[in-house]
Symmetry: D4
């Protein structure tokens, strides 16, 4: 404790870093950032950009970088991204930004990328599902997992699906994203003995649109699978990471 | 007209038969029976027993027999069936009763069974779907169609499904009944070039139970199919019959 | 096989065309296009433009043209259409574009239009239903069917409806589009012995708006009809085509 | 006031009757009965038997009889009816009980039946709608209206409907009861210039069952009509009575 | 008939006017206009501008003017209104336009305004309900009824309500518009013996918002009232007109 | 600690009592009873009998009595009550049972009834709401509050309501229970400056039945009130008790 | 009365002020403002700016200031606020405007701020809940309560929550705002013996989004709490104020 | 193949066993049993007894025993269980039946119980959740996993929860069952770095009852977890088994 306060006093530790070490979370203008989440929960606190002001997004990203050397942002708009990028050029000039769709990962040179000896298969039924799958993709990649991405193999053309089954069996855990009637996770889960996480996507129109039919269908699936909310790519990626890490721990 | 009234006068035509010929429908104690439905619509008026008193069911069945030589009853309870059977023993002693699940077909010797040169494939995903499929079965059989019934080939064990595809391709029109997530009609419709009618079944529990997930999934299907309401076996059978008859007419 | 690869080698067959012949589907930047859908299912894979980027729409349309000499696009925006048109001027200068509302059909001189000896009646209840009916119209016309289009005969002025019944009886199969309370398919189906496909439209406001009352009403219809999802003109057109083709096959 | 209290004192007025005259409502063991409702609102307070104990039903009926010489009970069970009948034999031996389905009307010789020079047309689409229509029937008859009852003319056999239009045009106000897709009120309201009250009935199964499709369809009707809740025969009858009475008042 | 055709031939009758007289409805580019609606149903066909193109709106309004000397338009946007006004300056320079909120009434000098000896009370709970009430207002005024408009007397300040009860009792029929919890129609209907039409308004946010709580509350009302759909001012006005006209007819 | 264990050893404290003092909760065959709830939360843990076996109910009640000298049970069936009563005759022969509707309160002579200088007004709209209000009644009475119960003053007869306003103003906090459209809490809350807790009741049928319209209406209320779930009399009573106790504490 | 009219005559009282004193409410161009609400109900009528025109907002605010020396406005847009501010510069140049998020409080020097000896704790689960909490904040502050605001202590990082429990126990009443799954009010209410008002927030996406999961969860809470509608910060603040004032009254 | 047929011929293999080895599934009177499911999917096909006749249940159990030496039955009624037990006494006298709530596991001496070096933690919030948790319990135990069962630690008494966290951290995967507002999985998942499967339970009444609030809350959880349908104990147990087996495989 004394040591830590002396580090703050001599400037080698910022007040935010000290608070993060003492309390786990850090209070800034945009709220309390849960700096200890990754250690406690295995998944970092992601910053959901949607619904936040540009200022809140930048402040939270900077706090995350300052205390954990890394920030994960989801559902970021183009405008939020541009401001974030230019703000970080000043506040964290050596940080690296990686963007995949509306998901962003930032890290400083101090960040030690984790290694994770496990493969997460990420599967989509159609082109419209790819943005949501990207969110899961970034989370799992950030955790160090190998990603096997298989796009656009919906059951309307069943050969597209069956052609990939052997490859899907290789993964340690599968995320299967689908909109409309959401039948792909059911069909895949009937063919492999891997844990499957169903990820419903808000495509489709009319009755059962906005992902509700896909969600209900996955919950009613006549095979075994667990499900996350509509468009919840981050949660699917987080759950796959936790499973992958448990497997990795058992391997090592 | 004169002729008809004379037939009533001399007793060779009952008043109900005369009304049926004049107006199309017949008024009895239990309502107006649409005796002309079969000629006008191609599908007879079925008597939905559920929600009717035993007396109403018997009266309507007798009116149907009197004016069209045949009666079709759906969702009949055991109690309703027993009373119907014993009532008909008196009022229509030469009538034949056929029962399949909760669907009943009665006809007198005067009924000329139609012939229909077409095959309706009736497919179920699981054992719980069979009662609803039976309703469709009776309607199509009553119309003279050949029925190819294929039970219990849900996609959880995809081989069960794929083993039957060649056979399914032989049918002129397909009814595919499924509960839970209702994926079977989508998978089947992706593999055949036959018109497919999706028939959702009220199995399943929890969110999307009572057939709602199956219905929404079939409406959202990424393949081409049309749908009837949950458990509406009669409607599915009627629609398949209309299609089969159009094909039969073109053949002949 | 050898032949096919040699055709690729000498440039008389593009790699995409070869993949389409070998696997049925073609992988491009925008996903996997199901080139074999028309042969397998009788209905081509349509490109749902809504929710896709302009680039994805153009890429998929070009792949469709390259491998099947034709492309069908639904729910296209003005902006997507303009870019598509100008892109095709370069990549497929001899292609013909036909647009009806938000539905587009493109074909090259190599496309052999099918012939289909059958009539699809397409009926609307009101002016707001016409855009959705257009989608069905294009699909059936593309399949070679004769279209008998009857607009704006909703039941509020029942004479408008009854005046057309004789004409509706002529069709081999009927699509009846209606929003609001969606009563027209029920009334029509009570008067003809033709298969009727109910097509609910997302008009109406307040409780049961967005087509939900129309859909529920058609599912509950006291006559026999099958239904597609709200605004699913493509599906209605596809199902009508499958029925029309079965009739055509029986005729010939 | 003095007079009234003296009447209580000499027994020519019961305390309940006095309270009814002073406050409008009467408090008994089963609650507060709104004895002034008929004078104030034109419709008596009906006793909804469903959900009440047999004792509450009897107490309220006796209070109603004591203070208004009449009682109207809806949704009464067989058991409640039997107890009511035998209780009234003792407490109100000269009362007359009239029962129509689950609706009951009781009155003493002191009750002066109102006269109402107006006709309420009560129409049903099918046999299952008759119980709900009966509730409206009793309310209007109790108010002295002439009832023109037309049963079982649903649109599946449109001739049944059209045959009755001239008769329906004669009514001063129409109640049209229908379950399933509930199209009958829309069709009728398109053909007459009479006020139409749509009365949805909880028949039908599957999606939109329990009267929800009928209610939504009537609310979305493309013709002009107003609606009451599912199975709310009492409310439909009350509203028709208010309209009929306004017409009657204008006539006289 | 001969006469009519000669009138067309000599130009004293346009083809549209002739079709209106012969068939009741008129077919133009924007659909079939039900010119006979007013005679048959007592309420003219209103043109719902929402969801229609500017061209469709103008065409339908011109057809209405040509065949019935009057047009009623609801849910018109500013842009639609401006184009309509400038179009009519050319095609119908002597027409008068009246606008109240988003409802518009147009008539030519040939239009003979009806007289209707009856008062419709139109009541709102709050300021947000006034636009919807305006729609009813225009319909009733167009029919010649006297309107008694009472705004902003919601039950949160019950004195505001009670202060107006005597005035409300004077009306022949009442329309009561309310959003949020929609309690005003219930309270009013408990105090008057006039027919009350509840008009739910899509105000409110959160659970039960968009008028759903108001609609459900009016359907569940413990007093007698009938209801129209959320924001359906036109329907409420039409139904009130039909009732008012029946009273007027009885008066005269 | 030592003391406590010695008390267990010499039998003056049961193991359950000791666990309750050490951990706050007690583990028995039917689960963990939260013996410290009353001290921590101000409201005892009530035993929801519905959905539990008779054995579980008895075990939990005995544990509650053993550790807190009192038990509160809600939604108890007749069968559960009879078994509980006879079981307690043996296990706790000096306990007193009080039952009000389906709510039961048991206490031993060791229970010191709390005093609470505050009045809770409990109001119902109609007779069907009384059972739910009873649940709140027992909770508040158990806490020592004075209860002012005012039954059956729904707004359909507004005089019934207004007659009681002065009395309602006397209470420190009000619970207002109502089913159907649930307007009473809104009207009451507009007339008093007391905190009002709306308690929706699952009466009513059709659309918005089962208390959903009442709940939505209270949530949308144009006056200030807070709400509990449908039929949640216990929660309403608990919240009123917490408010009453805060007032009592400020008084003393 | 005479006095009041003379004050109007000599200009020392405006007509609006006189009407407010006589009737309680004031009628202006934008409706009836309930000037007596604060005296009668303890909470002033707030002006919900959303859905009103700029002119209506300004008019109502001016009426409020004129008759009660203060105005409270919620859900105000930037455009509405700017116009209000500049209008008041002319009409009420000495008024003070305070804005917190989209909630605005205006008062003139004549306004005597109330004092209220009680603390309202206002708690949020995350940054997105703060705008809704601000609405409650302004209402309670306007009433003179001490506010203890504790932001961003959602249960995902439970230490953040537990660290604040002692502080939360100090408040007289708690408002706990939470979106997503809305678990925070349940956890807090399990730890304190203070009345807790749950305030669901419309954050979250997918199934149960828009605050519906949070609302349902709070209604189902296994602890005791009452709830307001989604985003109803004003109502939560009003209810907390009523409770705080009751406590304050008991204290003094 | 030849060998297999000879085994059938000499009776050492039954036809069902042969079909199971050849096709994977077996056809009997009650449907097609997926004998290969365990090998292909890692989880055996369970027989959902609910909705099946007693005969179907017995037939399917016997087929399962005959082909896989084991049967798993869920949602079995007492009547079904008794008949099953007595039937098996004859057909499989050496079989062992184990029942836990409504879940049953049967195996013959030939069944080799699997070993699985992994611990599944199964947690419930309250006593009502235990039946559903039992279903998961049996599935995991059948797969050979070690079960750590922790009952009745809902968040209303947070100490009950926190006391168990260290123990919960020991598990390889957690199933957390909760009804009502379903907050427990969120709180647990915020404290451990183990994969958590949320299992909503159909307890609770009123709005969000039947498990819908719990399901929506878990889908909206602000921590990372995946979810199964309401009461889907079998699916939760199956998914936990697949994860446990992947960990076990990595360990060995």
């Amino acid at each position: 404790m004394r040591e830590l306060l002396e580090a703050v006093a001599d400037g080698s530790l910022s007040p935010a870093q000290a608070q993060a070490q003492l309390q786990g979370y850090v209070t800034d203008d945009a709220g309390r950032f849960d700096a200890a989440r990754h250690d406690r929960r295995g998944i970092p606190e992601a910053i959901l950009a949607e619904g936040k002001s540009v200022e809140q997004v930048v402040t939270l990203a900077e706090t995350a970088l300052e205390t954990t050397d890394r920030a994960l942002l989801t559902r970021i708009s183009d405008r939020q991204y541009r401001t974030l990028a230019s703000s970080l050029e000043e506040s964290a000039p050596d940080a690296t930004l990686e963007r995949r769709g509306s998901t962003v990962r930032v890290y400083t040179p101090a960040h030690e990328p984790p290694t994770l000896e496990a493969t997460v298969g990420i599967v989509t039924a159609g082109a419209v599902d790819e943005g949501v799958a990207d969110e899961a993709h970034v989370v799992c990649a950030d955790a160090g997992a190998t990603i096997d991405r298989v796009d656009d193999i919906g059951v309307a053309a069943l050969d597209r699906t069956l052609d990939q089954v052997d490859r899907l069996r290789e993964a340690d855990v599968l995320i299967v994203a689908a909109g409309r009637e959401g039948a792909l996770p059911t069909v895949v889960a009937g063919l492999v003995d891997t844990p499957v996480i169903g990820l419903p996507v808000s495509s489709g129109y009319g009755h059962g649109g906005d992902g509700e039919a896909a969600l209900a269908g996955m919950l009613q699936s006549c095979t075994v699978l667990s499900v996350v909310n509509v468009d919840a790519g981050f949660v699917a990626g987080g759950q796959a990471t936790l499973i992958a890490r448990a497997i990795d721990a058992a391997r090592n």
